[in-house]
């Protein structure tokens, strides 16, 4: 029996601030099974990004237990059990696309030959093979975000953490990247924790068991589920979109 990708029990986070303490999260229970795609959805400021940052060990919880593949979050970070992508691509402008994708591999001292082979694979996966020699400022926002996704996949993690990665993109690019992400997640078998404030995005991505393609976007079932999630969200700050 493998440990769940993410196991959170009673997780809370309180930020100290000058005007007293700010409570960002209380009593979060969450289980993400290996290979599962889970969206965290809710309005701005509801704590979904905070939860993702706790899972990534970018912040530490003030209460509760958090385990990533059965390990402490800190250990999981050090072992590189997850890959992460943010709303901003966060590319290093002085590095080419290839060198940006290779960054995590370089940090973990992969040999040059292995790195190059892996980068070629990843560039192919995100459809950027022709652009590996370019610099980030020569790419569109959507392409930069693809580089960031390729980078998050570099070390083949079994967990992907994504903090509104498509939040700053236009609707068309966004839909295309959603489809690609769904395909990539299925191909790699990685679990995904996906933060978004877009209900349609969450519904499209977190659809267990079925292929997610463009046809889905126009099916009546899709609209029903969007409505269901919208209704469920009223009064509930943080919900798993694929919970029945």
């Amino acid at each position: 029996m493998t440990a769940p990708a993410v196991h959170a029990a009673g997780v809370g986070k309180v930020f100290p601030s000058t005007g007293g303490e700010v409570t960002a999260l209380t009593g979060v229970d969450l289980d993400v099974a290996a290979g599962e795609f889970v969206s965290l959805i809710g309005p701005s400021g509801c704590g979904k990004s905070t939860l993702l940052r706790l899972i990534a060990d970018l912040d530490t919880p003030s209460a509760g237990d958090l385990a990533i593949f059965g390990k402490a979050a800190r250990q999981a970070r050090i072992d590189q059990d997850y890959g992460i992508a943010f709303q901003q691509a966060g590319l290093l402008p002085w590095r080419t696309v290839a060198a940006n994708i290779a960054l995590p591999l370089e940090l973990h001292r992969w040999s040059r030959a292995r790195r190059d082979a892996r980068v070629a694979e990843l560039a192919e996966l995100v459809g950027l093979s022709e652009f590996v020699g370019r610099y980030p400022d020569q790419l569109s926002g959507g392409m930069q975000q693809r580089v960031a996704i390729a980078r998050s996949l570099a070390a083949s993690p079994q967990l992907l953490l994504m903090d509104e990665p498509f939040g700053a993109l236009d609707e068309m690019t966004r839909e295309r990247l959603q489809t690609e992400l769904a395909r990539i997640a299925a191909e790699t078998g990685a679990a995904v924790v996906f933060v978004t404030h877009s209900i349609p995005e969450a519904v499209f991505l977190s659809r267990p068991g079925r292929p997610r393609d463009e046809a889905l976007r126009e099916s009546p079932e899709y609209f029903t589920r969007v409505t269901a999630v919208r209704e469920a969200l009223h009064g509930a700050p943080l919900q798993r979109a694929n919970e029945r």
Binding site: L92, P93, W94, L107, G133, R134, P136, D137, Q138
Partner: protein
Amino acid sequence: MTATRLPSWLRVAAPVAVGLLGLGAWFAYVASGSAPRMLPDPAAILGEGVQRFPLIVEAAAITGTNALVGLVAGTVLAVALAALAATWRPVDGMTAPLVAALAVVPIVAITPILNTMFGASSQFGRAAVAAIAAFVPVFVNTLRGLRQTRPVQRDLFRATAASGAQTFRLLTLPNALPYLLTGVRVAASLAVISALVAEYFGGPSDGIGTAIATYAKSGRAALAWAFVGGGIVIGLVFFLVTSLLERAVARRLGAGRPPA
């Protein structure tokens, strides 16, 4: 009406024309006989410059070396201290007032003390003055550069389990490099001026500054001016080299890169 770019021949010709006009006015002024005795005409200065060329080169080498040693030492010290200040808040708190104090000290004022302290045969006092002058702009700019790292980049490196040394080498330093080099460019001119002016206040009897002072006092105006020309050349070389370095790095780091 749109602003049109000057044609390229005019962009070269215009400053040359202004320079020639200035030279002409200078010649006319000296020829009229109303110029002070210490202002010879350009031809006389050039003549002395050609005649004493090896002497001027020798003096320029000494002053230039002092400026270079000072610039390098000041830069190394400034970068090291800026790195410490950027890493540890307390160091920042300790160095900030010190640097502010250093910035307002008229460095030339302590030159006679340094020259006497290190003896009349040592170039050390002069190089030290250049180093102190170079330190401040490099420190201030580098410290600002080291703080340019964006939160998303820091998060990324932390999430990727990068070590402190890796984060510094692959993220913080490249972000700071353009700022550092701007500091070095500003410091280069200061180092040359300081090294040269330091020679007016004692120390060994060599270098461009010493020569200018000596020949000016003994009334050999053209020769003094020829040495001034040598000082200008040192300043130009320092400025050009550091500017090119700054530009090369800016290009390599992605700012203003031409489309591939």
